[in-house]
C-alpha cells in the first residue's frame, strides 16, 4: 500500500516503526512499578498535549481552558461508572462526547474573538467549570472528589495497573498522532494552518475562519475529555484540582517546550516535563519556578521548542548529504538569514 509518492525517503517509515517498537518495550526496561507509573503519566501528558497542540500549534490560538475539558471528561466517566455503574469502556467515548459538547458551546461563544481576548475568555470559562465542579457537591462530591473509580476494562482485560494502562494510553497517543498527521496532510488541516498564518487571507480564499477554528477546538476538547477519563480510571480518584491552573500551565509548558505545531514535539515535551517533575522533586515548590524559567527560555531562545533542535540538525545534515542530488532542498535553511 505504501507508495511513497511524495518523495518521502524510506527512512521515515522505518524510523517511526523503530520508535513505536522502542516505546513498546519501555515498560520491560523500566523494571519497577514506580518507573512504569511515570511512563503512564508521560503518555497521558503526551495525549493531552497533542490535543492542546491542535489549538495552540495548528490554529495558533492560546487557550487556558484545556484542563477544564480534561476535567469534564474525567468527571463524566467517573460519575457514570460510580453512580450509574456504566462500564468504563463505554464511559470513555461518552467522556469525549461530553467534553466536545462543552467545547462546542464554549468555543462557539469564545471564538468570536481571537488572540489575547480569546485566551482570557477560555481562562474565564475554565474557572467557571472549576468552580461548578468544586461546589456542585451532589454531583461531583465537591472538594472531596470522587473515589473508588473502577479501573478501565476491555472484556476480561483489566487496566488496573501501570503496565497495561501504559499500552492503552500509548495506543491512544499513536492514534492521536496519526489523526494529527492526517489532519496536516488534508484540506482541513491546511485550512487550520492558513487561519493561523493569516486569517484575512484565508477568508479571502473561501475558508470560513470561525468554523475552522471551532472544528479544531472541538476536536481538541474531545481528545482532552478521553484523556481525562483514562486518567480518572487509572488514578481511581479525582478532585477538582484536575481542572486547576496548575494543570493548565503544565499542558501549555509541555506543548511549547516540546515544539508547537509538530507531532513529536508535544510527546517529547511531556517526557521532559514528567522527567524533570520527578527528578526535581527535592526542589519542592521551586519546581514550578524552574518550569517557568524553562518556558521563558524556550520562548526566547528556541521558539520552535526542543524538537526544532533536531529539525535544525536534520536540515543541516540533509543539505550536506543531498546537495548535489537535490539542490531545491537547500534554500529552506536560508530562513535564518533573513
Amino acid at each position: 500500500m505504501n507508495t511513497n509518492s511524495h518523495g518521502h525517503s524510506l527512512g521515515q517509515p522505518l524510523a517511526i516503526a523503530g520508535g513505536i517498537a522502542a516505546l513498546a518495550v519501555l515498560p520491560f526496561l523500566a523494571g519497577n512499578a514506580y518507573l512504569e507509573h511515570l511512563l503512564v503519566l508521560w503518555m497521558l501528558y503526551a495525549l493531552l498535549a497533542l490535543s492542546l497542540n491542535i489549538v495552540i500549534g495548528y490554529l495558533g490560538e492560546l487557550t487556558f481552558g484545556h484542563a477544564a475539558f480534561v476535567g469534564v471528561g474525567a468527571y463524566t466517566s467517573a460519575i457514570l461508572s460510580t453512580q450509574l455503574g456504566l462500564p468504563p469502556l463505554l464511559g470513555l467515548p461518552l467522556a469525549g462526547l461530553v467534553a466536545a459538547g462543552f467545547g462546542l458551546v464554549i468555543g462557539y461563544a469564545a471564538l468570536r474573538v481571537v488572540g489575547p481576548q480569546f485566551a482570557i475568555l477560555t481562562l474565564g470559562f475554565g474557572a467557571i467549570l472549576f468552580t461548578i465542579t468544586n461546589h456542585w457537591v451532589d454531583l461531583t462530591r465537591g472538594p472531596m472528589g470522587i473515589t473508588d473509580i473502577p479501573p478501565m476494562a476491555i472484556g476480561p482485560l483489566a487496566f488496573d495497573s501501570a503496565r497495561p494502562t501504559y499500552y492503552l494510553v500509548l495506543a491512544l497517543v499513536l492514534a492521536t498522532a496519526y489523526l494529527c498527521h492526517a489532519l496536516v496532510g488534508s484540506r482541513t488541516g491546511r485550512a487550520f494552518l492558513a487561519v493561523r498564518e493569516n486569517a484575512p487571507l484565508a477568508a479571502s480564499l473561501g475558508i470560513n475562519v470561525f468554523h475552522t477554528k471551532l472544528m479544531g477546538f472541538v476536536a481538541a476538547t474531545a481528545i482532552a475529555g478521553i484523556g481525562g477519563a483514562i486518567y480518572a480510571h487509572y488514578i481511581r480518584v479525582i478532585t477538582p484540582d484536575i481542572m486547576g491552573v496548575h494543570n493548565v500551565a503544565a499542558l501549555i509548558i509541555v506543548v511549547i517546550i516540546g515544539g508547537r505545531g509538530t507531532i513529536l514535539g508535544p510527546i517529547l515535551g511531556a517526557l521532559v516535563y514528567i522527567g524533570l517533575l520527578e527528578s526535581l522533586r527535592v526542589a519542592g515548590p521551586l519546581r514550578m519556578v524552574i518550569f517557568a524559567a524553562l518556558l521563558t527560555g524556550t520562548v526566547v531562545f528556541l521558539p520552535g521548542g526542543l524538537i526544532s533542535l533536531w529539525q535544525r540538525w536534520r536540515n543541516a545534515h540533509k543539505s550536506e548529504n543531498n546537495l548535489p542530488a537535490t539542490p531545491t532542498g537547500l534554500p529552506s535553511t536560508e530562513g535564518g538569514a533573513k
Binding site: R187, T188, R190, A191, N198, K338
Partner: protein, 263 residues
C-alpha cells in the same frame, strides 16, 4: 461550465456607497466588468479604491448599493463566501502564509478547489490520494506559472520581496478564481519587475481569469488594461479605454497633476 462563464457581465456594481462616520469613502459608484476583461481602477490616494476593493472582496459591508457577481447578488456577503464563489484578491500590504513553504502556501490556498477533508485523509481513501497527487501537480504548475518553481520548498518568510509579491498572485490563482482583484501589485517594484508583472497579468487573462486591478504605475495600467475606471473622492469621474481616459482633462487635473500623460 456554461458559455456565460466566458462572456457577458461577471461583476455589476450599482450605486455602491460606503460611509465611515462622517466620511463618504465611496459614493454611488456604478460599474461593470465583463468576463475576460482586465480593468484598472485608478485614482489619487484616498480616492476610495481600496475601500471599493474591500467591499467587492466581502471584508467590508457596503452602506448602500449592490454587488452582483456572476449573476448572483453578493451584497454584504462575507469574505469567505466571496472567496467560495470565485473572487480572489491580493492585498496592498504583502499578505501570505509566512511560516509555510511556497508549495504549502499554494496548497493551503487551493481550499476552494479541493474536497477530501480530514476524514478522507485518515482513511487514505483513493479519492484523497488522487486529489492530493492532483493538488501537488497543480500547485507546482501554478508556482512555475509565477516563476517560483525553484522556490517550492522555501519558506514564504525567507523569500525576496519580488518573490513574495509573485507568491501572493500564486496564492490567489490557486483558488482558481473567476475574478481576481489585485491591489497595487506593482507597488515597490522596479521597471523590470513591473514589466514582468504586466506579462504575468496577460498570461492570467489567457487562463480565463477576469482581472480588476488597483494600480498607481501608469505604465503598468496603460499597457495591460482594456478599460479604466477613475475614482476621485469616492466618486467615479471617468471610464473607458486607457488612451482616452488618461488624456481626459478632468482625469489629468484630479489625478495626474496638470501635465499631460504620455502613456
Amino acid at each position: 461550465m456554461s458559455p456565460a462563464a466566458n462572456s457577458g457581465e461577471i461583476l455589476a456594481v450599482s450605486n455602491l456607497t460606503r460611509i465611515f462616520g462622517g466620511l463618504t469613502a465611496v459614493r454611488d459608484v456604478t460599474m461593470t466588468v465583463q468576463a475576460g476583461e482586465v480593468v484598472g481602477l485608478i485614482g489619487p490616494n484616498g480616492a476610495g479604491k481600496t475601500t471599493l476593493f474591500n467591499m467587492l472582496g466581502g471584508s467590508l459591508p457596503p452602506s448602500s448599493g449592490s454587488i452582483r457577481f456572476a449573476g448572483t447578488d453578493c451584497t454584504g456577503a462575507p469574505s469567505h463566501v466571496m472567496g467560495q464563489r470565485g473572487v480572489s484578491r491580493t492585498f496592498q500590504i504583502t499578505s501570505l502564509f509566512p511560516s509555510l513553504t511556497a508549495l504549502d502556501n499554494v496548497r493551503s490556498a487551493a481550499f476552494r478547489t479541493t474536497r477530501a477533508g480530514w476524514g478522507a485523509a485518515i482513511l487514505r481513501s483513493p479519492a484523497y490520494r488522487r486529489e492530493e497527487a492532483e493538488l501537488r501537480r497543480k500547485a507546482l504548475e501554478i508556482l512555475a506559472f509565477c516563476d517560483l518553481d525553484h522556490r517550492a520548498d522555501t519558506l514564504a518568510d525567507a523569500m525576496s520581496y519580488g518573490e513574495q509579491r509573485r507568491l501572493e498572485i500564486a496564492i490567489a490563482l490557486a483558488a482558481e478564481p473567476r475574478l481576481l482583484l489585485l491591489d497595487e501589485p506593482a507597488a515597490g517594484m522596479n521597471p523590470e519587475e513591473g514589466q514582468r508583472l504586466v506579462e504575468m497579468i496577460r498570461r492570467i487573462r489567457a487562463r480565463g481569469v477576469t482581472v480588476l486591478l488597483v494600480e498607481h504605475h501608469m505604465r503598468v495600467v496603460a499597457s495591460v488594461c482594456d478599460r479604466l475606471v477613475v475614482l476621485d473622492h469616492g466618486v467615479k469621474i471617468a471610464e473607458g479605454p486607457p488612451a482616452k481616459v488618461l488624456n481626459d482633462p478632468e482625469v489629468i487635473r484630479v489625478y495626474l497633476g496638470r501635465e499631460p500623460v504620455d502613456a
